[in-house]
């Protein structure tokens, strides 16, 4: 059995263990696991609008997942995707409501603003990482809180829509990311996410630059001997990862909400990171792990209304998946002392 195949079976077994434990918990709350599972499937794929809903949930997880993949491949743990998403979302919305532009151009400028905002936000921890070798995990995590509160400040004090909830004025229709179907809010964001996944996969597989990034990620000392400026490259990797994180926010505000709301999308950054980790940093596999999480989330919404189980049961199952996947990786490392080629640690 090839290594890849074995890894694949390992993930499947990990998933099965997680689902079995989830079923046990469902039994403990006096609900039938079969009923919960069927409702979950019906909620995720029951009809065309449910499928579209699942894809709608998948989109931000996928784009955040790609952002995480870029970092993981380059040996950088960007845990600040959440914050980059919030700032990107705000920047795009700001362009949307404050900067009247012709149709077509408007949405493009909005997305560019989102990308720049995400990159600019990660540039601070990335600079300190490159200059002073600070731990990017800690600094990017902390930057999340600042980003979320900063956008709250912008929304509440500077750009609040008169009356009502803490949100900005609606963006102009010229800045809308077009919807794909009439029956759902699903929009071009999904297409952007898929295209980006393919592009990033191609970039790492086929270009010299991509190879050198992977090299720094897997064997930094070797790469440095080989003449790669590791610090500079790490900085650029984080910048690219943050840019994609910002893009995720732009897709949400221009594609779905058409305005920025305070605290509008909590947790997507982390969902994306988990999807990328489950996919071993592969953008293509991330498409499927993101879809899996998107389906779980959309299914869980029907779970809440149609069964006596809470939507939160899905959060528990997600956590179990992470636990069993990381346990599997750890066991493999113990069993195989040559596992040094693993690119990162869980």
């Amino acid at each position: 059995m090839s290594d890849r195949l074995r890894a694949f079976y390992g993930q499947i077994i990990a998933l099965a263990i997680a689902l079995a434990l989830g079923a046990l918990i469902i039994v403990l709350i006096d609900e039938s696991p079969i009923n919960v599972f069927m409702t979950l499937v019906r909620g995720a794929f029951g009809d065309q609008s449910k499928i579209a809903g699942t894809l709608l949930q998948t989109t931000p997880i996928l784009i955040c997942g790609i952002a995480a993949c870029i970092g993981l491949r380059g040996g950088m743990f960007n845990v600040g995707i959440e914050g980059q998403l919030f700032l990107g979302g705000f920047a795009a919305a700001w362009v949307g409501f404050a900067l009247p532009l012709p149709a077509g151009l408007h949405v493009v400028v909005g997305m560019v603003a989102a990308v720049l905002a995400g990159a600019a936000w990660v540039a601070i921890p990335a600079y300190f990482r490159a200059r002073y070798n600070t731990n990017e995990v800690v600094s990017t995590i902390l930057s999340n809180y600042v980003a979320v509160l900063l956008t709250s400040y912008f929304t509440i004090f500077l750009f609040k829509r008169p009356g009502g909830w803490s949100e900005t004025p609606p963006i102009l229709p010229t800045a809308y990311l077009p919807e794909l179907f009439s029956f759902s809010r699903l929009n071009w964001g999904l297409v952007i996410g898929l295209a980006l996944a393919l592009f990033v996969a191609w970039f790492f597989r086929q270009t010299a630059k991509g190879y050198s990034i992977s090299m720094v990620g897997s064997a930094p000392k070797f790469a440095e001997y080989g003449g790669i400026d590791v610090k500079r490259q790490g900085f650029l990797v984080l910048l690219a990862s943050g840019a994609v994180g910002g893009l995720a926010g732009g897709v949400e505000t221009l594609g779905v909400h058409h305005r920025f709301m305070e605290g509008f999308a909590p947790g997507f950054g982390f969902d994306g990171l988990i999807a990328a980790l489950l996919a071993n940093g592969s953008p293509i596999v991330t498409i499927f792990t993101a879809l899996f999480f998107g389906a779980l989330r959309n299914g869980s919404l029907l779970l809440e209304t149609d069964t006596s189980a809470s939507r939160e049961i899905i959060t528990v199952i997600q956590a179990l998946i992470i636990l069993s996947v990381s346990a599997q990786v750890l066991m493999k490392r113990r069993g195989d002392s040559t596992a040094g080629e693993r690119r990162w640690k869980f």
């Binding site: 009502g164 909830w165 909400h257 919404l301």
Partner: protein, 339 residues
């Protein structure tokens, strides 16, 4: 072969949907009322009060009750509304929280036969039911209480001779003006000599600013400050403890946030509102679109004097308050709403 499989699958799907729908309509034909409530705030303050009212209705009338927690992801809201409304099995769907308004309006347009009850506010659409509270009446009582206590001067613990009471509003918007108007009218009615100093924080989300504004009011000789400012108001309550003066809470019982310094709370009784709407529905008085105002007479608003303060309230003040309540209820005292 493939298409056959597909058609079998489709049939199963249709059968399942049909079964679910027939179960839903069976429940309705049964005469059993079924309600749902959707919000992200069932665990706190006003939301707890609503859950209490729903559970009371469930226990007393045996209605089917479904609580849906929206969580805090805006992306989920529309799907959740659709999931609730699609089956048509709920007679009434209670909705609480301004962040849900957008999704609510879309759901109301997509499912025109579904009756939605929006709690604590009135929106533009005339298709929905609005459970509104006569805040001006409750605030009138709060103003009368504060005015009369202030009038006692130094005879009452912690009160000076400034003859002025205060008001901290969140933002200067009509609904908050309505609270202020009631408060001013009440104070003027019961204690014409007492002046009302009002300020607006400009935000509902800044406790520090609330504290700062309240301290400024207390510094000017104001002894009692009524806050209608959401989280900003938390700062007002804290300030009253810091300078050892009095504050008045709003919406829910806030006596515990500064014990000894909170005079009373002007309660909006979400529990009474949802309970009486369900009661109407159960007893055959179908709840129809429009605004239902819950006032002093129906118990929808009330002023609760904090337990630790209540014994020290002079008898003449209590008597006068009772008289005012009766007057508002029978219409002999008119409280103007802010237009």
């Amino acid at each position: 072969m493939g298409s056959e499989m597909k058609s079998v699958f489709q049939k199963c799907l249709i059968a399942g949907v049909a079964l679910a729908t027939s179960l839903g309509s069976a429940a309705a034909a049964n005469g059993k009322v079924s309600v749902a409530a959707i919000s992200g705030y069932f665990a706190q303050g006003f939301g707890v009060s609503i859950v209490n009212g729903l559970n009371k209705a469930k226990d007393e009338f045996g209605v089917d009750l479904k609580l849906v927690d929206t969580g805090n992801r805006a992306l989920d809201y529309e799907e959740q509304f659709a999931n609730l409304a699609k089956g048509g099995q709920y007679d009434l769907i209670f909705v609480m929280g301004w962040e849900l308004v957008d999704a609510l309006q879309k759901a109301s347009a997509a499912y025109p036969d579904q009756r939605f009850v929006f709690i604590d506010g009135v929106l533009d659409s005339d298709k929905m039911i609005y459970a509104n509270f006569a805040e001006e009446q409750g605030s009138f009582i709060a103003g009368a209480l504060a005015g009369m206590i202030e009038n006692k001067g130094s005879a009452f613990d912690k009160i000076g001779d400034g003859k002025s009471i205060g008001f901290v509003g969140g933002r200067d918007i009509p609904v908050i003006r309505n609270f202020l108007g009631g408060y001013e009218q009440g104070s003027k009615y019961a204690a014409p000599d007492v002046k009302v100093n009002s300020v607006f924080a400009g935000t509902f989300d800044d406790p520090a600013k609330g504290s700062e504004l309240a301290q400024a009011l207390y510094g000017q000789g104001t002894d009692i400050v009524y806050n209608v400012a959401g989280p900003t108001g938390e700062g007002v309550m804290q300030a009253s403890a810091a300078v050892d003066k009095y504050s008045i809470g709003v919406d829910v019982d806030m006596c515990a946030s500064a014990p000894g310094n909170v005079l009373a709370s002007m309660l909006k009784r979400g529990d009474i509102a949802v309970y009486s709407l369900i009661k109407d529905e159960v007893e055959g008085r179908k709840v129809t679109a429009g605004t239902r105002t819950f006032d002093l007479a129906s118990g929808g608003v009330e002023v609760k004097i904090c337990d630790d303060i209540a014994p020290s309230i002079p008898a003449d003040v209590t008597a006068k308050l009772d008289e005012i309540k009766k007057g508002i209820a029978d219409g002999s005292i008119k409280v103007e709403r802010h237009k």
